[in-house]
Symmetry: C2
């Protein structure tokens, strides 16, 4: 295993440190800009040698980037499957760049540059995907950083740009601003009060869309939703972000209101639910990823409601990432069989929760 | 509340102290003898004044009993409903004597005499029910004690006895020896391996019968079964007891074998099951009696398999008794509403398990 994520600040996980605004409900804010090199075929159509040329052209600039400094690079076409899966599970690269789709293996010249919060994916669907990822509900600061990176790079690399359509992209749905912003948000209150369908429908009517934890087509587990803008064209970056931020702020309010209702109408049912989830995570000997996500959702709600004080939000965030298959295999130092995986997952979950409970001392869970 | 069970050795619960043989599988052994006063109408047909006369006739003897000494008396017709329920839940009196059946209120002159292990119920279905109750699988010693009581009383009270039919009883199924012996046994292994139906069918073919935790007609919860002899006539007391003991010994062996198989074939499934049960009991905020029984069954299996070392069998036994409605109301000092009951139950379960875990120190549950 050559992958050394520890070179990154906090292993590239600072976006999960729960330091950002509203971080018990909004886990993270992410913005990406799709950019392409002027006069070069999009990666999906480019010949291998062109992909390498495109990559080197970008690297020549990024290696000197003041905004990215200090930067770490991963050449994905030199990493094995497990290493690419780890990067994907850590939300650092897309499934596409990781080459995880059966029909589309990892692309030659595919690379990731990152300093933890800012990243550049090279030879994804587009030549460049600039990305900013921050803890909590913090789109403004995320965009501030990303804009600096975009300006710096745009001043040195001629991007494919059309005066009428804006930035050109491999997929027309990304053209224009090339901007996609999303927040990863935890909505157990709206799910429990059965208002979630109405809320999601409302969002789709104002041009927003939702997905599960792991990008397009991924299922919603553990009441975690990624909310993002649907359109990229015909509006300025600021307008798109303002619109998303306004809507997310409203969803956060709905969620908070739902939690108040639950606490008022069914305090015992809620307390029972969140503590049972905690009890199962503390003691189960086998956990599927889906069950772990659902139980973590319960515990997160309990922490948010101040019922459970034994666990930090950071630990809950870490568990979202480190209970995934590639992370488990990496920790065990080998590929695990299907029956071994849920056992190792449960062992890890127990250890982290026990450590938290010990750190917080006895009585931390009393209520 | 006038009921003072604390006057009894360990509150009349010594049969639950897990000190007897095989006490992780066989919770207790109980034998009762049905006896009636010669020349007096059976209680079900007696006039109130005759019931009082019968009672006083028995009390004159039991008050001086050397075998029962020191004895505590409860006049059931002077206790309120909750107090009678507590005695019933503690397995000290039958539903009939407690007057818990809607159609049959408590009978005048109904009384209980007990020294903890030996007891005499007065004016139950029969004038006298002599009873011996011991921890674990210990029919022999239970009968030894009971025989001494029976001889002592029989020498002073003329019992209704027919040279051909033996002891006469209100219900003909009890005539002859008047003996019913039973063991309370925990068979989660046979339930999990799905062999239980076969085993129970085999028992019925050799004249044994089974019921749930609380006597005739009570449902099986938590994999606890009461196995007892069906017939009381045509065999000597010793033969009846030998037969039951032989069969129970075999069932205990089947259960042990089933546990070995489970541990060999599905160790993770079993460990996961018992630890999840423990986790839920440690943290749930609301527990129905049935769920509590089922979870306690899981934990008991874990303790029996030496997977869980945080809990004593005695604590598990106590929880069987003290999580019942009347015991909860007694502890809270008032009648509880339907929604309050499961909350109070869960609080009590948590407290006892926490105390056990603290007593055993950290690491007791590690494996």
């Amino acid at each position: 295993m050559t992958l050394d994520l520890s070179l990154l600040p906090d292993g590239g996980m600072s976006w999960l440190d729960a330091s950002g605004p509203e971080s018990d409900i909004v886990l993270s804010s992410r913005i990406r800009l799709a950019r392409n090199l002027r006069g070069r075929a999009f990666p999906v159509r480019a010949a291998p040698e062109d992909l390498m040329i495109a990559r080197d052209e970008v690297l020549a600039v990024t290696n000197e980037s003041a905004v990215l400094h200090p930067v770490t690079m991963f050449r994905l076409d030199e990493l094995d499957l497990l290493e690419r899966q780890v990067l994907h599970e850590r939300h650092m690269i897309s499934r596409e760049l990781a080459g995880l789709e059966r029909a589309r293996p990892v692309r030659q010249g595919a690379a990731l540059l990152t300093n933890g919060e800012l990243a550049v994916m090279i030879n994804e669907e587009d030549h460049l995907r600039l990305q900013s990822l921050r803890s909590g509900f913090d789109l403004e600061r995320a965009y501030g950083q990303l804009e600096r990176l975009d300006s710096e790079m745009g001043s040195q690399i001629p991007f494919a740009f059309h005066p009428e359509f804006g930035y050109l992209t491999a997929c027309p749905t990304n053209a224009g601003t090339g901007l996609r912003a999303s927040v990863l948000i935890h909505l157990p209150g709206l799910v429990l009060t059965k208002e979630i369908a109405k809320v999601l429908q409302g969002l789709s009517q104002v041009g927003l869309t939702f997905r599960g934890l792991y990008g397009e087509g991924s299922e919603v587990v553990g009441n975690f939703f990624q909310l993002s803008n649907q359109t990229t064209l015909g509006k300025s970056e600021e307008d798109l972000l303002d619109h998303l931020a306004t809507m997310v702020r409203q969803v956060v309010e709905y969620e908070q209101r739902a939690r108040v209702v639950l606490q008022r109408e069914a305090p015992t049912v809620i307390a029972d639910k969140v503590w049972r989830a905690y009890g199962l995570l503390r003691y189960a000997r086998s956990l599927s990823f889906e069950e772990a996500m659902n139980l973590l959702s319960g515990v997160r709600l309990g922490v948010g409601l101040n019922l459970i004080r034994d666990v930090s939000v950071y630990t809950l965030n870490k568990l979202l990432i480190f209970t995934q298959p590639a992370h488990i295999a990496e920790r065990e130092g080998r590929a695990l069989s299907d029956p071994e995986l849920p056992i190792s997952r449960a062992t890890y979950v127990r250890r982290l929760l026990e450590e938290d409970a010990e750190r917080r001392g006895p009585g931390g869970g009393a209520d």
